[in-house]
C-alpha cells in the first residue's frame, strides 16, 4: 500500500486527528511546564496514568477513563504534598515508584489480551476509536478553556511568584489547577504516545522553542508548531515502513530540539 492508500483508512485518519489535537494541547501547556520546571512531574504523572489505565483494565472499564483518573489523582497529590519547590523532586520520586509498582501488579493480575498491556506503555494511536477520540477532543477543549481563563495570573505566578503573590494572585491554588490540567493532558497523551514517551510531546517542543526566543507568545506558537510536526509527522513517517509511532514521534521532536539548540547558540553568540 502507498502512503496515500493508508491515508484513506479510517483508523489512520482518526489517529491523525488525535495527534493534531494532542499536539495543540501539549504545545500550549509546554512552555508553562518548562518554566515551572515540571518535566519530572509530567513524567511522574504519566506513570500514574499508566497505573490508572492498568487498574481500569483490571476493573473492566475504559482504559482512557482509568488513565485520566490516575493522572488527576497524581496531579492533586503532587500539588498537595509538595508545598515547597524543593520538596517536589523527592515527592514525585516516591509516588512514581509506588504507582509504577502498583501498575505492574495490576497488569500481572489482568487476564486479557496482552496487546492491551503493551499499548499503555508505548502508545497505541492506531487503536484509538471514535469514543476515545470524543473523550480526547472534549477534554482538550476543557483544558484549553480553563488555561485561557487562568492564563495571565498563571504566567505571572510562573515567572515572578513574589510579585504575583503581592498582587493577590492565588499562586498556590493556580499551581494545583495547573497540575490538574497537566494531569488531564498527560492522560490523553498516554493514549497516543504511551506513558514512557509523553515527554516527547509535552516538554521537548517547548524546550526547543524556548531556546530560540525570549518572547512568551512566540515561544507558545513555536511550541505548538513543533508539537504538531512531531505528533502528526511522526505518525506519517511510521505508516509506510510500519514502525512504532512512538519511536518516530520522539525522534522527530528530538531532532527539532537539537536544531533549536544549535540555532539558539548561534543567536546568543551573535546577539
Amino acid at each position: 500500500m502507498t502512503l496515500f492508500d493508508l491515508l484513506e483508512l479510517d483508523f489512520v485518519q482518526t489517529a491523525l486527528i488525535a495527534a493534531a489535537v494532542l499536539g495543540l494541547v501539549a504545545g500550549v501547556l509546554g512552555p508553562f511546564i518548562v518554566t515551572r520546571k515540571m518535566a519530572f512531574a509530567v513524567h511522574g504523572t504519566s506513570e500514574l496514568a499508566f497505573t490508572g489505565g492498568a487498574a481500569a483494565l483490571l476493573l473492566g472499564i475504559g482504559v482512557g477513563y482509568g488513565a485520566l483518573a490516575g493522572s488527576i489523582i497524581a496531579a492533586v497529590l503532587l500539588g498537595v504534598l509538595s508545598r515547597r519547590e524543593s520538596d517536589r523532586d523527592s515527592v514525585i520520586g516516591a509516588i512514581l515508584a509506588f504507582g509504577l509498582g502498583m501498575g505492574i501488579l495490576m497488569l500481572a493480575l489482568y487476564k486479557g489480551r496482552s496487546a492491551n498491556k503493551f499499548g499503555l506503555l508505548t502508545g497505541q494511536i492506531v487503536g484509538v476509536d471514535s469514543t476515545d477520540l470524543k473523550l480526547l477532543v472534549v477534554s482538550s477543549v476543557a483544558v484549553l478553556a480553563v488555561l485561557a481563563f487562568i492564563y495571565r495570573p498563571l504566567f505571572f505566578a510562573s515567572v515572578d511568584p513574589d510579585v504575583a503573590v503581592s498582587r493577590g494572585v492565588p499562586v498556590r491554588g493556580l499551581s494545583i489547577v495547573f497540575a490538574v490540567l497537566v494531569g488531564v493532558a498527560t492522560a490523553l497523551s498516554v493514549q497516543v504516545v504511551g506513558a514512557l514517551l509523553v515527554l516527547a510531546l509535552m516538554i521537548t517542543p517547548a524546550a526547543a522553542a524556548m531556546r530560540i526566543t525570549a518572547s512568551p507568545l512566540r515561544a507558545t506558537v513555536l511550541s505548538v508548531v513543533f508539537a504538531e510536526v512531531a505528533a502528526v509527522g511522526g505518525i506519517l513517517l511510521s505508516l509506510q515502513p510500519g514502525l512504532p509511532v512512538s519511536a518516530l514521534v520522539t525522534a522527530v521532536s528530538f531532532v527539532i530540539y537539537l536544531v533549536c539548540r544549535g540555532v539558539g547558540a548561534v543567536q546568543r553568540r551573535s546577539g
Binding site: 512552555p31 495571565r152 515567572v159 510579585v163 504575583a164 493577590g168 525570549a214 515561544a219
Partner: protein, 263 residues
C-alpha cells in the same frame, strides 16, 4: 488621608518577637527608610503590609489595598534561561493579576508599558531576554514594573542591593521622582542609608525586637542607636554622610556604611 497605618502592631514567630507596639502612619508623598540588621523583620513588615503575613496583634491598613501597591521584592536573580523579556515583566505589573487572555485593549496596554519602560530608561534592552541583563538593568525594569500600575504606595525591599553607586542613584531617584510627581508614599528598605539620605523624610530603625521612628537626625545619633543596639554605638556625621561605628550586633551594616562613606 494616610497611605499606611499601623496601630499597636506586633509580629512574632513562636516566642520570637520581631516588633511590638508599632504605631506608624505614613503620609502620601512621604519617604520612609526602613533600616535594621539581617533578620530584624524588615521584609516581614513588607509582607504584613501586603497582607501576606497576619499580625500577631494590632491593626494594619494600606490605602487602596493591594492593587494600589507597587512592590519591588528583595532581589533574587532571575533565571538565566527564563523565556521572558523586560517588557513582559513590566506588563505583568499592569494586568498580570487579571483573569483571561487579555486580548482587548492591546494598544492601550502597549502604550502604558512603553511609557513605564521609557521612564526608567530601559527602552534599549526591554526586548532582550531578562536573564541576560545586568543587575542594574533588571532593577530598573523592576522599578518600571512597580510604577506601571500607578501605585499610591511603593514597597521597595532593598532595591539598591548589589548595585554600583551610579545605579544606586538612578534607582533611588526614579523612585523619588515618582513620589514627588504622584504623591506616592514610599517604604524603602535599605542597608545603606547614605545613598538615599537626601530623599529620606523619616527612618524606621528595627533592632532585635526594638525600634525607633523619626527623622534621620532623631534616630541616627549615638544615643538612640546605643539604646537600640544596647551597646555603645558612635554615630559620626561627615559632610552629608552618616557613619555608624561599633554596632557589634550589626557588623555588616557598619561595614556597609563605612565602606560607603569612604568611597
Amino acid at each position: 488621608m494616610t497611605a499606611i497605618s499601623l496601630r499597636g502592631a506586633r509580629l512574632s514567630y513562636g516566642d520570637r518577637v520581631l516588633w511590638d507596639g508599632l504605631d506608624l502612619d505614613v503620609e502620601p508623598g512621604e519617604f520612609l527608610a526602613v533600616l535594621g540588621p539581617n533578620g530584624s523583620g524588615k521584609t516581614s513588615l513588607m509582607r504584613v503590609l501586603l497582607g501576606l503575613q497576619p499580625l500577631s496583634s494590632g491593626t494594619v491598613s494600606v490605602a487602596g489595598g493591594n492593587h494600589a501597591i507597587g512592590y519591588i521584592p528583595q532581589q533574587r536573580a532571575l533565571d538565566q534561561s527564563m523565556t521572558l523579556r523586560g517588557r513582559d515583566l513590566v506588563g505583568l505589573g499592569l494586568d498580570g493579576d487579571r483573569w483571561g487572555l487579555g486580548l482587548r485593549n492591546r494598544h492601550e496596554r502597549r502604550v502604558r508599558v512603553n511609557a513605564a519602560i521609557e521612564s526608567v530608561g530601559a527602552t534599549p534592552y526591554a526586548d532582550k531576554p531578562i536573564g541576560l541583563l545586568s543587575g542594574g538593568e533588571q532593577q530598573r525594569l523592576r522599578v518600571a514594573q512597580a510604577l506601571v500600575g500607578d501605585p499610591t504606595v511603593m514597597l521597595c525591599d532593598e532595591p539598591l542591593l548589589s548595585l554600583d553607586l551610579a545605579n544606586q542613584r538612578v534607582v533611588s531617584e526614579l523612585i523619588d521622582k515618582r513620589r514627588r510627581e504622584a504623591n506616592t508614599a514610599v517604604l524603602f528598605v535599605t542597608h545603606e542609608l547614605n545613598p538615599v539620605l537626601p530623599l529620606v523624610d523619616r527612618v524606621l530603625y528595627l533592632v532585635g525586637g526594638r525600634f525607633r521612628v523619626g527623622t534621620p537626625e532623631e534616630v541616627m545619633n549615638s544615643r538612640t542607636l546605643s539604646e537600640l543596639y544596647r551597646t555603645p554605638v558612635e554615630v559620626v556625621r561627615l559632610r552629608d554622610q552618616i557613619l555608624v561605628i561599633g554596632a557589634g550586633a550589626c557588623e555588616e551594616q557598619t561595614h556597609h556604611l563605612t565602606a560607603e562613606a569612604a568611597s
